[in-house]
């Protein structure tokens, strides 16, 4: 398998999942698509090096998230907390809509760790690697996010 085939396999396996995680994190499907493609292009340009990383997908996620922050600054966009395309998810359990609303109110840093942990099921060390921070930081953001979600749920109840 040459480098192109290798990258193509990576792209096929990871691009959709990363894009969906970024949609949940950013709340903007178009921005998420652009961000993941930007991350993928940069991975492709450096594929000889990136492919040897333990977690190339984590690298792409981090690049995409950083790129989206810069893009939002450039375009003077504010992080979007509602998803226009997703405003009527088929919630059938009482409290799910409130919980999603609470998730969308989290800061982007907290939402990122929540999405990576509970949507992609990444381990704390893997999230730390992807976000370029210490595992302790991930744990503390997760703890605070869950605490905030519990408080918000209690208030809305």
């Amino acid at each position: 398998m040459d480098a192109n085939d290798d990258f193509e396999a990576f792209w096929t396996a990871e691009r959709g999942r990363l894009r969906r995680a970024l949609v949940l994190t950013l709340g903007d499907a178009s921005l998420a698509s652009e961000a993941v493609d930007e991350g993928m292009v940069r991975a492709y340009q450096r594929w000889n090096r990136i492919s040897r990383y333990q977690d190339p997908a984590g690298w792409v996620y981090r690049v995409a998230l950083n790129w989206s922050r810069s893009a939002m600054r450039r375009r003077r966009l504010r992080p979007v907390r509602r998803l226009e395309e997703l405003d009527t998810p088929a919630f059938d359990r009482r409290g799910d809509a409130e919980l999603w609303d609470a998730v969308s109110r989290l800061s982007q840093d907290k939402r990122a760790v929540v999405v990576l942990r509970f949507y992609l099921d990444w381990s704390v060390p893997r999230i730390a690697e992807a976000l370029d921070c210490r595992p302790g930081t991930v744990k503390s953001r997760l703890h605070r996010a869950l605490e905030q979600l519990r408080n918000m749920s209690e208030v809305s109840a």
Partner: protein, 175 residues
Amino acid sequence: MTLESQLREVLHRVEAQVPNDHGRLSIVRVRGRRRRLVTRATSGAVGVFAVAAGLAVLSQLLPPDGPDAVGPLAGIEAAQITLCDGRRCPAISADDLDALRARLTEDPNVVEVRYESAEQAHARMRGPVSGADDVAGEVTVEMFTASFFVTVVDGGQLVAVYADDPRIEAITVPE
């Protein structure tokens, strides 16, 4: 049910509503020098505008003064866009360039056509990719109706095409 397990369910339920953007990847070979061109269009339904953007990008690959011209865009004589249904857009010649540029500029759906120098592109990328000559230039086309971009990198040997239009199967440059 714990908050954690409820979160998992909610995130997957919301994720299931995320629309597919039909991302596609093709990597084809191209003869020529190293260059990197990107076109990006944002959001919305697919449409003919994606093809127009592709034409615009490919037009940047063509030598402005014919195939024998010397310059960063020299060496490629023609380009071809193939749609998923097998139809091919007409090959693009150097004569088409002005018309394509005018079409993009006048199209009300095109919100911006921006050309960046290599230096600007490097600055945007926050540093050289793998050498000062790696980026020959960049064109960004932003539109309402489609999303895809084309990247040509390194030694002119590879073209990466990311298309967000299911009708675009590949953009190839004949060797």
